[in-house]
Every structure is written in C-alpha cells, then in structure tokens.
C-alpha cells in the first residue's frame, strides 16, 4: 500500500464570525479558493498532478451549496481537469477531507489530492442547512437530540468539571494562543486573505482575547440555561444519564469555541506524486479512523475514536508526542485529558478553538497544520489530531514526521 504524505498545509487566519468580522465581506468561494491557490502557488504545483479536491463544509446552503469544492477549485485556477467533492461530517469535516484524500492515495487510485475545508459562519450561519437529526421526531427523540452546548454541560456535570475548571481551561487556551502568535508559530501555515487588488484583508486570528482571566470569564452568564430548562433539553440529558439530578450549566461564549470564518487546505500525495511535483514530504499519515459514539452526550467521541485508532495502529497513548483535540467546548478537552490521564501541556500546546475559533468544516484541516508546525518547531515526531462531532462521532488521525 502506498504511503500518503503531507507535502503542504495552509490555512487562512480566522475572522470573527459576525457581520463586523474582517472576513464577513469574503465569500465562501473566495475563502476556499484562497487556500487552494496558496497550495498551488507555494509549491509552484503542476495542477495536472492533482486528482481530486475534497473540502469539508457543514452548512452547505446558499453560496456554500452545490459542491463548493468544485467551484472553489475552478475559481482558484486549478484548471477544469481538477474535480472537487464536498463532504460533511459536521465538525470533523476538514479532517475527514484530509483522511479521504489520504485514502485515495493509499489505495493507489490517486497520486495527489487536496483535503481541506471552508466555513463562512458569518455569511451562512450555523444550522442553516437544517436536517432530520434535530428536527424529525423519528430520529430526534430516539437519539436524545440536544444542542451541543447542553451536551457539553452534560459532560461537565457527569465528569465533574466545575465552572472554575472550564474557565481555567479557557484562560490557558487564550494564553497559549497569544504566546503562539507572539512567537509566530503559525507562520508556515497562515496565508493572509487578500482582496481582488492584493491588499491584505486579514492576516491574524482575530477572535482571540488574550486579556481574558478568571475574573472576566466569571462575569459571563452560562449560555445554555434557557435552552436546557425551557427547551426541555436538560430533561433529555437527565433521562439519558439518570444519575444526574440537575445539569450544571458551565459553558458560555468564553469557554466554548469561537464562531469564525476560515478555510484550510492540505496537499496529500504518494511518494511518486511528490517526486513528480519535485516536493519533499513533511510528514506521513500514519493512521486514521472514525467512530460512532453515544449521541446524546455527543462530544465524547474523541476518547472513543482515539482508543480505537491507537489499537488499530498498534500504538499506546505514550507514543503520541502531541495532541490536537478540538476545543469545541472546554469540557470536551478536559474529559479527553481525564480519560487518558494526560499532561495538559501535551494537549493543544498552541491554544485552540476557544481562543482562535472553530470554522466548522475547516477546523480539522487547520489542526493538521497546527500540529505539524509544532512538531517541526519542537523537533518531535508524532501527533494525534481529533475532533468531537455532532450526533456522536469521532474522527482521529495520527501524523508522523518523516
């Protein structure tokens, strides 16, 4: 079986996902096309070597609908011979896109493929797509559907994370992100978003609040109390986990992932493909897999999928130098660390989505670049990237520098 190598990884900076965010004026198409163009331009790539473009995108309606991957590939000037496909596995879409590209290469059917993702949350809006799972009684009831924030609060309640625990985690994420930007740790990957004239629109993650401290976070009201109490979702959570008397609502905007706009792309290829392109591989995709986890608590999939992946890869948790666990909510990472008894320093060392934001379909691909840059910077070898996913799933990938 051919190995799949990472030849390049880029991402846009993340713009605040509101109508005053810097990237709000940038269409989904241009966001994605910018990342794809960077892949082409940075390596001076002969696009005839690219067999497919796979982009994760979660809310695929309006401007992001109708296969945004094909439209973006065309807009990026990859040429009409480069096809594209859009996939959706909610928050892990970007990582799954990289995995799908890797699978194409590993299967020997494709030599090079781009995996990535895009989400303009400010323009399209979270949940704009609708869907059966939260709405259709034939699945919503039996799957104990609840909004992710309530699930995150359920994790905190069940596994014993207090408001102080989750806030402290958030403060640390902000500190790490600020330090990383100060040290320019993301410089290899971040490509500025420019306007049609080449003028820079955004070159830094703008969601960060480095000044956040325990006191300022303590002033924020929990976000999911109303939904939980009046929307009936606390009752749903308790019926699934009846050992709980009441849900402890601890999450708020300051310790949950930020709503942002952004895009990312990762160039995957076989050794042969890389040679043809004249590129040196930076890392290989060691292993990846997916799992379905308990859908009500929903966001514990990273634990399950990591166990499955380590077993498949014949590795132990100690073989991993660095973990990128998407900071969808503070409790998700705290639970991951608790389950594997991890030193928090090894997990999300550069900060995460609480500070920098979580552009749904793009985040998974962004985490590849974050992990790879950090492995190179610290001279370490192996990283595991994982995300929690709506409806109870997990995706994880292990990369290894070569």
């Amino acid at each position: 079986m051919p190995e799949a190598y990472i030849y390049d990884a880029v991402r846009t900076p993340r713009g605040r996902g509101k109508d005053d965010g810097s990237l709000h004026e940038v269409t989904t198409l241009q966001l994605a096309a910018g990342a794809l163009r960077a892949i082409k331009d940075r390596s001076n790539l002969d696009t005839h070597l690219i067999d497919d473009v796979i982009l994760g995108c979660v809310d695929t309606v309006g401007e992001s609908g109708s296969d945004i991957a094909r439209a973006s590939a065309l807009a990026a000037g990859l040429g009409e011979h480069v096809p594209g496909v859009q996939i959706n596995r909610f928050c892990a879409s970007g990582l799954d896109a990289v995995n799908f590209a890797s699978a194409q290469v590993m299967s020997g059917q494709h030599e090079m493929a781009i995996g990535g993702g895009v989400e303009s949350m400010s323009r399209v809006g979270m949940g704009a797509e609708g869907g059966a799972w939260p709405v259709d009684p034939s699945i919503a009831i039996s799957a104990y559907f609840m909004p992710q924030g309530v699930s995150a609060d359920l994790i905190a309640t069940k596994y014993g994370f207090s408001r102080d625990d989750v806030d402290a985690y958030a403060v640390e994420s902000q500190k790490r992100a600020a330090a990383s930007w100060q040290e320019d740790r993301f410089r290899k990957s971040v490509v500025p978003v420019r306007d049609i004239n080449g003028v820079t629109i955004l070159d830094r993650d703008e969601h960060m609040r480095p000044s956040a401290d325990m006191q300022s976070l303590a002033a924020l009201k929990p976000s999911f109390v109303m939904m939980g109490e009046q929307g009936g979702f606390d009752a749903v959570a308790i019926q699934r986990y009846p050992e709980i008397e009441a849900i402890n609502h601890v999450h708020h905007a300051g310790n949950s992932s930020g709503i942002v706009d952004g895009a990312a792309a990762v160039l995957i290829g076989s050794a042969e493909g890389g040679r043809k392109a004249g590129l040196k591989p930076r890392a290989k995709i060691r292993a990846f897999c997916n799992i379905g986890s308990e859908p009500a608590i929903m966001l514990t999939g990273p634990v399950d999928v990591t166990r499955k992946l380590l077993a498949r890869a014949g590795m132990s948790i100690r073989d991993i130098d660095l973990f990128e666990v998407n900071e969808a909510f503070a409790s998700v990472v705290l639970r991951f660390n608790q389950a594997f008894d991890l030193d928090p320093a090894r997990v999300n060392p550069c900060g995460g989505a609480i500070a920098m934001g979580h552009p749904l379909g793009a985040t998974g691909a962004m985490l590849i670049s974050t992990a790879l840059d950090e492995l190179e910077r610290t001279g370490k070898s192996t990283a595991l990237i994982t995300l929690c996913i709506g409806a109870g799933m997990g995706t994880a990938t292990i990369i290894e520098r070569v």
């Binding site: 939260p134 009684p137 009831i141 104990y144 009046q230 009936g232 749903v236 009846p242 050992e243």
Partner: protein, 734 residues
C-alpha cells in the same frame, strides 16, 4: 337511500339538514354503519343538483363523542386474528385501509364540491370533532353543554381522522401541538378564539346560522385546498421551524419519558404531514393511526382508563338487589386534613354536610379548608361567589354529635387510633342508632376489628380516601368480614355522588393501594442502600412511568410514619417481615438524623426556603458504597419498580383482597399513578404475559431477594396460559 343513523330534511332553499341521531344509543358514536351512511349521504348530495349545501347537526344532547372505543380497544386483537386467518401481509393491508376509513369519508365531505356546515349543538369529541373539521364551516352553540376537543391521547390513541393535519393547518404549530398533546376540551368562546370554529350562536339559532352561511355563498373549499394556502407557521425548515421542532421533541420526552407512542405519533404526523399536500398527509396519518391502534398501550389504556373506569363509576360492584339510596345529608367526624377534604367534596356534590370535631374551633378550621379551596376556584374564574356561598352554606361545622341526627351516612376521619375510633363510633351511634351506615376513613386499621365497636357490624364499612381528597380520584371501599350489601351500596352511591371512582376491596393490612405503594417506596430505599445514586433512583422511577420518585413520595408521606409502620409490622408479623437494610436506612434518617420528610424541611431532600428542593448530599453516604452509574442496568431498575408493585397486586388478587382486575388496574392508576401506559398493575402483568412476568420475577428473586417471589396463582396461570382478565372477568376480557 335508507338511513338508520341520520335524518335528512331538505328546505326550500335546497339545503339539507342532516341530523345525526343513532337509534337506541344515548350518544352518537362513529361506527361502521355511520361511516357507510355518511358515504351514501355524500353520494346523494353530490348527485342531486338541487341540493345547495348541507348542515350537519345532532339530534342528541351531545353532538358526537367520537369513535366506539369498545371497538377500538380490540384493535390489537382483531389484527392478531386477521393475521391468523389471512396472513401478515393481507391482514396488515386490510388493517391500514380500515384505519383510514373515517379519514377518507371525512375527506369526501370536504371535497364534495357542496358547502357543508357543522352545527355543533353539544359536546363534539375525537372523531366527532374531526368530522366537523372536515366541514367547511363550523358554528357552535353558546351553551355550557357545548365543547370541542380531541381527547384521544388520554386513552393511548391520537386524532387519526384528520385531526393531526387540519389542526396545524388552522393554527400555529406550537399551539396545535399543545392542543393535540393535552387533549383538553374547549368551551365555545375559547374554541372560537383558537380559530377552531368560525362562529358561536345562541342555541336556538344554531341551524339557522349554519344555513345562513351557505345561503351567503359559503365556499365549499377548505383553506388548505386553496392554491395559495400557506401553513400558519410557514415551512418546517425555516428559522421559525428550527425554533419550534427541536424543543417540541425534547418537551415530548420531558413530559412523557417516551412512554406514550400515541403522543409521539402526533409529532410524527404533524412533522411529516406539514410537508405534504393534504391528501397525502392524511394517508401518512392513517398509517400511523393503524400502528397506534395495534399498540398494546392503546389497548391497555382504553380498557383501564375508559371502559373499566366507566364501569366502576357506574357501579359495576354495586349489589343489584339494593335499592338506590338517597344521600342528602352526610356526617363527617374529624375535621383534620382528610375530614375537611371529605366535607369539601361532599358539599361540592350538593349534599348537606355536618362536620364534627371535638371543639368548635377545630370544626371551623376544617370548614375553612373548603372556604380556601372554593375561594381559589372563584379567583380562577371557575366558580362564582354565589357557588361559594351555597357550598359553604351546606357545611355545618359543629362540636355537637347531636347535629349528626338525620344523616344518611357518617364518615369518620378521626386520628388513626383504635381507642379514639371506638369512642367516636359509640358516640355517633348513640345519636344515630345502629342502622345508619357508618364508614371509617382509615388507611391502616383493619375494618373488621373496628366494626366490632359498631352496634351492627353489617352497617360498618371502610371508605379510604387518598390525599389530597379534592384531587385524588380514587376511593377504596373496604369490606369488613360482616359488612352487608346495604352498607356497600350506600358507600358506592356516596362515591358516585362525589364523582370519584370506587374500588371494593376486602379487609387486610394496607388494603390494596398502600401495599403496592409500600413496596414501591421500599424498592427505592433498598436501591439507595445498594449504592445506586439517589438521583438515578428518582429519575428512573419516573422513567418507569411513576408520577413521583419513591424518595420524594416518602418525604411527602413522612419518613417517621414509615418508621412507625415498620415498627408496627415487625411487632405484629415478626422480624422476618421487614427488610433489615430498609429498617437501618429509616432508623438512621428518623432516629439519628431527625430527617422526617417535607414536614420538617429535611428528608431524602433538603427544602431550602423559597428554593427548589434538592436531594440531601449526605444520602449517598448512608449506603456506605457507591455504584458506578455506567455499570447500572437502568432497564432492570425500571422493572424492579414496576414488578415490586405488580407482584403485590397479584398477591392481593391471589388472597382475594381484590377480586376484579379492573379494580386493581384502575385503582393503581388513580390511587398511586402506576405507569398509566401499562393499563395498571394487572394489565402490566397481562401485557407482558403471565409466564414472562413470572420468569422476570424469578430473575429478580435470584438477583435481589424473595420480595419478588410470585404467588402460586401466578405460577398456575403461567402454566395454563391464562390472563387475569380471562380468569377473573371472563367474557369481558379483550
């Protein structure tokens, strides 16, 4: 066209007045013959060009009370028989087709091309209301007798003849779901406000108003058949739809614990139906209706909550030889919380009440309870000041036993003490003589022994009310060994008078309800001592279908009372009669910690001033061990709660304490809220199958102890394959 159920009168304007008046029945119901005739009427109206329109009304007091539930109750059985006779596929096709029959007939009315107006002269419920929803115009009589509603969910069904489609096409989805879920009846003004009827008219002008609408050019097209029709709440997949649906699904689970498939079917019908044109939407509704009609929940709920309850209310257990009593004046002795409640419900029913206590102040305090209850109804607009004055005027509070003279029945509700009760009986009979029926409202003392204090034990009976008396619909009537037919008939007539549901049980410790409830609470206690998290005990009990968790319930009835009962049981029946783990728990709480329950603000829960009650954090520590919740089998906890009660109910039947499964079932639902979707304690056993239930008991005995041991009767029935309803009700069994 010969019609048995309808009378047709065509006026000079060419408007046919169709009067629904089924021969030999007190009320109109939707049955096969009605649907056949409606089909014929539609054909006739369509075919005759001279007919300009139709007014549909009823010749009875009520408009129509819906489908024939006796027929519906046997849905599951009819289907099973059809499968045997014709095979699964043919039977299913036929069943689904039949389930849509009413819906199709109604749709024919709606699309007949002639305007139909419903003149709703009285109660229109269920299918009786749905037929009017298919008419193009609805006018209801401005009368206290008139109301509309879709109460199907109360008996495990849902409005399957267009109700789930036309209602959400008439009002916003949240209102529609609320209306369909609750099954409440609406008075004319409210129905108009909710857009369910077009007009309210004085009784005498009802038909004229309906005809006027037709003559005024009433359009024979339903709003949803208009080209530009828009759903009241727009599309489901819209920002508004996203605000409605996820919480609607969650609130369904919150309210029902997902135990009521009919309620869930409403959600599914509305969700799927609102995305379809009406004809296809009605088809989808019929498919769900067929599924729900075959459900064991519908069969069990119709039987217990409609048929059996109706039979008991009508005096199924009343000795037929006894002439009807005329209860005009009732004596109530003891003006405490129970006595005061009994006085209130009796006076509410229109009877005179003499409320006696040892001094005037105590008696007055008891009467004040009635004042408080009726005043609250007045404040809510449910009664008038005149009602209040009349009600209070019927209660005479007194400290003088001589005021009991002339009472037709006396109910004693004094302190639960043999001596006090004996003295009360003597004093009352001193005034009344031996022939007035004397009833004791006791929950613990055997009636047979109390009756020995009466001059004629045949006139002594137990009438056991549940607290709070004004809300709890069940009354247990307890037969002492010598209690006679006249006492029973009098007690049943009294219960009928106050509009409660009676069950008649024979004398035993705890009678029926408290035996089952005691087992339920004990199961909660034992789980706690096993190390099950306290919240899990409470939540899983509710998930099993109980209205309150066992620990909450124990706090309400008082833990020190449980302690006294345990001690008394031990004294009377010996050490082996009580569970040492339970005794230890209650002793710790009551004796060591003085946690008595809600009454002293601390029990299994803490009751912070002005705040929500919370489980006492020290509880988990009492067990000395804590189980990992992820390793606990929640389904087994549910089974333990229900089986602990059901097996006790089976024992009461084996012992002859309860003699009729209808009483065990209805009593369990009304008395202590036993999982209504099962149909009650005995239907729960029949529903599982007696053999399966026995094997479940055996498993639980092996895992948790002899308290789950089934009585010999159950083993015998498991072998013979009989159900309780076959064995004890015979031909009535479904």
């Amino acid at each position: 066209m010969t019609l048995a159920n309808f009378k047709l009168d065509t006026d000079s304007d060419g408007i046919v007045l169709v009067t629904w008046d089924m021969p030999g029945k007190p009320m109109n119901v939707l049955d096969q013959t009605v649907m056949d005739e409606l089909d014929a009427i539609v054909d006739h109206v369509v075919a005759d060009a001279a007919i300009k329109g139709v007014v549909l009304t009823s010749g009875k007091d009520a408009f129509c009370t819906g489908a024939d539930l006796t027929m519906m109750q046997s849905g599951a059985k009819q289907f099973a028989d059809a499968v045997k006779a014709r095979g699964q596929d043919a039977a299913m096709t036929e069943f689904v087709d039949q389930a849509g029959r009413a819906s199709r007939v109604f749709r024919r009315i709606e699309t007949s091309g002639k305007p139909w107006a419903a003149a709703i002269n009285g109660v229109a419920l269920g299918g009786g209301f749905e037929i009017t929803l298919a008419c193009h115009y609805r006018v209801i009589a401005d009368s206290p007798k008139a109301s509309v509603g879709l109460p199907e969910v109360k008996v495990g069904l849902f409005p399957g003849a267009g109700g789930t489609q036309r209602i959400p096409r008439l009002m916003a989805t949240p209102d529609a779901l609320q209306f369909l879920f609750k099954g409440e009846s609406l008075k004319p003004a409210r129905a108009k406000q909710m857009n369910l009827v077009h007009d309210v008219a004085p009784e005498g002008e009802l038909v004229a108003r309906a005809k006027a609408w037709i003559k005024g050019g009433g359009k024979p097209v339903a709003p949803w058949d208009e080209k530009n029709f828009k759903m009241p709440s727009g599309k489901i997949f819209s920002p508004f739809g996203m605000m409605i649906w996820p919480p609607a699904n969650a609130l369904y689970r919150k309210e029902t614990y997902d135990n009521y498939p009919a309620v869930k079917a409403i959600l599914k019908c509305v969700y799927e139906g609102l995305q379809l044109p009406i004809d296809q939407a009605l088809k989808v509704e019929s498919r769900y209706f067929a599924q729900i009609m075959r459900s064991k929940e519908a069969a069990a709920m119709i039987r217990s909550l409609f048929l059996s309850m109706g039979e008991l209310n009508k005096g199924a257990r009343r000795p037929k030889s006894e002439p009807r009593t005329n209860l005009k004046k009732i004596g109530v002795i003891g003006a405490g919380f129970m006595g005061a409640g009994i006085a209130y419900v009796t006076a509410s029913a229109g009877a005179q009440v003499v409320l006696v206590d040892r001094d005037q102040a105590a008696a007055d305090k008891g009467k004040a309870h009635s004042d408080a209850l009726i005043s609250s109804r007045v404040a809510k607009g449910r009664a008038t000041e005149a009602d209040k004055a009349a009600l209070l005027g019927r209660i005479k509070a007194s400290a003088d036993y001589n005021d009991l003279k002339g009472c037709d029945l006396v109910v004693e509700a004094v302190f639960e003490d043999r001596g006090v009760k004996a003295e009360t009986t003597k004093k009352a009979q001193g005034v009344l003589g031996p022939d007035v029926v004397f009833a004791s409202n006791t929950s613990t003392l055997p009636i047979t022994s109390l009756a020995t204090e009466a001059q004629k034990p045949e006139n002594f009976i137990g009438i056991h009310f549940f607290s709070p008396v004004d809300k709890m619909m069940l009354v247990e009537i307890i037969m002492g060994e010598k209690t006679g037919d006249r006492a029973l008939a009098t007690a049943l007539d009294f219960v009928r008078l106050i509009k409660k549901t009676p069950i008649v049980v024979n004398d035993t410790r705890g009678f029926y309800a408290n035996r089952c409830v005691g087992n339920y609470i004990r199961e909660g206690h034992l789980m706690l001592m096993e190390g099950v998290p306290p919240a899990m005990i409470e939540n899983v009990a509710r998930m099993a279908g109980m209205p309150v968790g066992p620990l909450s319930l124990n706090d309400e009835v008082a833990i020190d009372l449980s302690w006294r009962v345990v001690q008394a049981t031990k004294k009377d029946l010996g050490e082996q009669s009580i569970d040492p783990a339970q005794e230890k728990l209650i002793k710790t709480l009551v004796v060591d910690l003085e946690r008595f329950g809600r009454k002293n603000g601390k029990g299994f829960y803490d009751y912070p001033q002005g705040g929500k009650k919370k489980l006492w954090p020290g509880l988990a520590g009492l067990a000395g061990k804590a189980l990992d919740p992820d390793t606990i089998d929640v389904e087994e906890l549910k089974q333990r709660f229900l089986v602990a009660q059901a097996v006790e109910a089976a024992r009461t039947m084996a012992e002859g304490v309860v003699t009729d499964p209808r009483e065990a079932d209805v009593g369990s639902i009304l008395g202590f809220g036993f999982a209504p979707f099962t149909g009650g304690t005995i239907s729960y056993i029949d529903g599982l199958g007696v053999a399966n239930f026995v094997s479940l008991c055996d498993t639980l005995v092996a895992r948790h102890g002899d308290r789950f041991s089934p009585p010999a009767l159950l083993r015998e029935m498991a072998k013979s394959g009989e159900t309780f309803y076959e064995r004890f009700v015979g031909a009535k069994a479904a």
